[in-house]
């Protein structure tokens, strides 16, 4: 799966140049909230989370759908980009910023952010 709208041949998620604010920019940390009764298991959030930190639950909601939940050990990976919130057709998931992480972004730290 490649991003065809990006014109260069850079690998996915690799910045085109070193960001100018690299020395002081901080990655926000978010918290995911889910409303299980509204979910219809379309899997948009699970598939397109840039951190790949969501997965489907083993339990089902009242209508028999598996709703999203966080992968084991990835609780602190949410960067509050809000894409799950925007792409969810059911208004069933959103994020809130809880804190900005103190450690600045390291070059190459984005490479773990690969969607499966």
């Amino acid at each position: 799966m490649t991003k065809t709208h990006r014109k260069s041949d850079q690998p996915k998620n690799k910045p085109l140049r070193t960001p100018m604010d690299l020395s002081y920019a901080k990655v926000p940390q978010g918290q995911v909230y889910v409303i299980p009764e509204r979910c219809k298991e379309c899997r948009f959030c699970v598939e397109f989370c840039p951190q790949g930190m969501l997965t489907l639950s083993t339990e089902i909601n009242a209508k028999g759908y598996h709703y999203p939940q966080i992968r084991e050990g990835r609780e602190k990976d949410c960067i509050h980009c809000g894409f799950c919130n925007l792409v969810c057709p059911e208004f069933a998931i959103y994020t809130h910023e809880i804190a900005a992480v103190d450690t600045p972004i390291q070059e190459g730290s984005h490479e773990h952010a690969v969607t499966e």
Binding site: M1, T2, K3, T4, H5, Q31, V32, Y33, V34, I35, P36, E37, R38, K40, E41, C42, R43, F44, E47, F48, T55, S57, E59, K63, Y65, P68, Q69, I70, R71, E72, G73, R74, E75, F83, N85, L86, V87, C88, P89, E90, F91, A92, I93, Y94
Partner: protein, 302 residues
Amino acid sequence: MTTTGPTAAIVAKKHPVDDLLRADRLPHILCPGCGIGTTMHCYLEALVESGVHVDKHVCVSGIGCSGRTAGYVKVDSYHSTHGRALPFALGIAVYRPELTVTVISGDGDLSSIGGNHLIHAARRNVNMTVICINNFNYGMTGGQAGPTTPMTAKSGTTPYGVADKPFNLPHLVNAVGANFVARWSVLHARQLKDSILRGMRKPGFAFIEVLSPCPTGFGRPNDVGEGIEEMLKYHRRCKWDDKARLEDVDIDMLRPDSPVIVGNFVDRDRPAFCPATGAPPASPTGATEESTKERAAMKDAH
């Protein structure tokens, strides 16, 4: 708030945009994997960001799956007759020019039965934003072929495949002179939100085509699969090109090698539609401040 296990997300009862939704109607009736909910969400986010008070927004819908939007958003909304969303919106936009009018409707409603209204609203350059949710078929009535169904696609009314060339909506609307023309897929949620915001702020006719998955009506008979698989198709095949020639932005979802061109294609500044006098229309009571003064002056002269 409770957690149900070590990896469970925090369970919430209320979504941040619930204040702008008729939340008691949720979950909505749309199929799992349908993109209309995402478009609705992008519209609401743009509405919040526009800075215009929610009472000054109007949402008009036609008939169809997308026409349900007017029933779910908690702004002043109008669920109009089939194909006539644009004439209703034109009336609102002309009589109350201070309102921000947005039409959210489907491709069947806007380009088929309402096709002439679309052409003439764009020709007049009426001050409104039109969000056309294109799912390549008539979804609500059971997946019949419409004017945007790609050639060779199978549907309820075309078991041997569609024989007609589908509409190229951005080209059509640009040809009659709309001020702002864009196309995004549902996957481009952020860009879609920004385009809706630009359309709201732009005087004149803004047209945004939104490509949406339809797993039930279009995906199943054409082996596209579920909504997520059509979204992955957009992920692979969408190309962002703002300067694309609009003659060439036809979509063929069924041919695997053909790209889908998206982008903000047209942004021009033709004067927006204004009734013949060029003056803002009178207030509902029939008297503007100026006309009252004029009448008083005439009385004094007599």
